[in-house]
């Protein structure tokens, strides 16, 4: 398979997932900041909530890595 296409796929995987993750994280973090302003004891819990949407970016990164590994022959079908 064309390496260029695979590289493009890897880029889209990480790019789109990071975009979605960033939007989600922005929403969660702003809500968390509001909650922490009300009650400081919620800091640790809210911090965890704020990083929850990062998962999608991580999955995107892993898919990109698998695609790159595939392109360079580190794994085969």
């Amino acid at each position: 398979m064309d390496v260029n296409i695979i590289a493009l796929g890897a880029g889209i995987a990480i790019g789109v997932s990071a975009l979605g993750s960033a939007i989600g994280q922005g929403l969660a973090a702003s809500a968390a900041a509001g909650a922490v302003a009300e009650d400081e004891s919620l800091y640790v819990k809210e911090l965890t909530f704020a990083v929850l949407p990062e998962t999608q970016a991580i999955y995107g990164f892993i898919i990109a890595m698998i695609l790159i590994a595939f392109a360079f022959g580190l794994i085969t079908l």
């Binding site: 640790v44 929850l52 998962t55 890595m65």
Partner: protein
Amino acid sequence: MFIPKQLYEVVLIIPQKYTDKLLLSLGNEKIVQFKEFDERFHQIPSVDFPEIRTNEAVKALMKLDHIIDKLKISEGKPAKASKTPINEANELVDKIEIRYNKIEKSINENQSVFDELDLSVEFLKSIKKIKLKEENLFFLIETEDSVWNDLLKKIKKDNISFSMLKRRISGDKVLRLISIKQTNETKLSKLLNSFKIHSHKGTIKDIEAQIKTVLDSIREKIRTSKRQLEHLPKKYADEIYSLREQIQLELTIMENKRKFLYSEFTSLLNLWITKNDFKKFKECVKKVTNNNFVIYNQYPKIKDNPPTKLSNSLIFKPFEMLLQGFSLPGYRDIDPTFIIALFFPLFFGIMLSDVGYGLLLLILSLFLLVKKKSFKDFAQMLIICAIATIAIGFYFGSWFGFTFIEPQLNPLKKPIELIIISLGIGVFYVNLSLIIGLVQSLIKKDWNFLLHEILIWLIFEFGIIFLIYPKLFRGYTTLPLHIIFIIGPIIVRIFSKGILNILDFSKFFSTMISFVRISALAMSTTWISFAINLIYRLVKQFPKGIYIGIAVLIVGHLFNFAFNTFGSFLQAMRLHYVEFLGQFYQGKGHAMNLFSLEKKYTL
């Protein structure tokens, strides 16, 4: 280590006269939590505790807090204890308020005079361009319009010829520079005195000099007052913080005394104490009451909702703060601190995975441990994480992204192996959490939780394993076990939680897959380090590029270290809170609030 400390519920009867002495003694020991009497004790006839001065203490405390806030008083050194802290606090606050207001009033008054004179100087400067008869005499006055009108009538009556320049400064206040012949000086001076109007007279230069001298003196007065104001918080800090602490302790004693029952001569106390401290407690009571006491102790009952006091060895203790940040385990729950203490550094270490970054973190956490006593637990936790990072960094062969020794596992060359290892950790860790949940449910005999939150996942997992490896049970049974094991839990879930909760089965696998973040973070640390080192190699080829290259190395690696340390910590924390504790942890505990009369600001 695996469960919170065992507690006793204690009922103690002592002669009332020893109550205060016992409270002081227990307050220093910090071993008990007093509890309210429940319905079992309601039939005991009791009298009210006579001396309750809570309102006065709270008012005094509020006054102290107000003055601390107003003067921004920072913590002082320990001061001598007072016999009547509430009265002394009230007197001291009043004294400080009077002193403060006096200085503030003096500053405001001087400042307003200063501002007005400053305007006069400005006025004089602005008229410098106008040609004035230098042989004339000038009077600078500040009057209101109504006063000026009366004065003008008198001036006209006395036939004093004059010319005048004026500027309105505020409302009806006007600055006037009156120019007259030298011969009229006495007449005008008399008139101004009769109207009690203060004036500066002479040539323009004289007036300017006079005002500047006054301005300097006022400026000095303001400075002195401000110095006095700055000195005020330092002067009273020790006394204020000591009185505040004494009142707080008095309130703590009062609040706890309210929890006791009293007869005419005895006090009845109900409290929680750890089994380990019980002997010490008994000795303390014996000593205070001269062996005049009746004591009864028993293990807590489920309905009593006993508090939780975690019990972990020194190495695991720092990780209690991670659990406390989430929520405490119930009294009868398993305390997972020891597991978190084992796996949190492991996850963190794999995610940061660099000997250099590990060493940096070790230095920073040692510095934190020595310099900030309040961060002791956090620093100790970071030290353990730093050691794990160094060890795993050796395995990955990464020293600030450079490779000096052939690595056992290079994330750049073998990313897929790393992803598989992370997934393996995920499968193991989620199953470990289910096993802990299983043991906990069996201990607590919580059959509902056991079936709906633990067993269905374990059975479902078996179903999946049988589906993938049907040879495992071939020859033992002809039943389609893989179908039963998969369909069974789904049916149970639908009937117990509703049709929408069928989605939980995909969530169960995503929980395991979520652990691939360990490999993602490890790769991102390594890749960024690699990129920084690549830029360095490119830049150093240019003339004098070595200097820019070194700057790139320092800034780049510091950024990567800070960014990925924070990221690794958060992700390791998330894996524990969401993926691990989320499987079994109920966290309905409440902390044991030990009765303490510890003094920090009082000798």
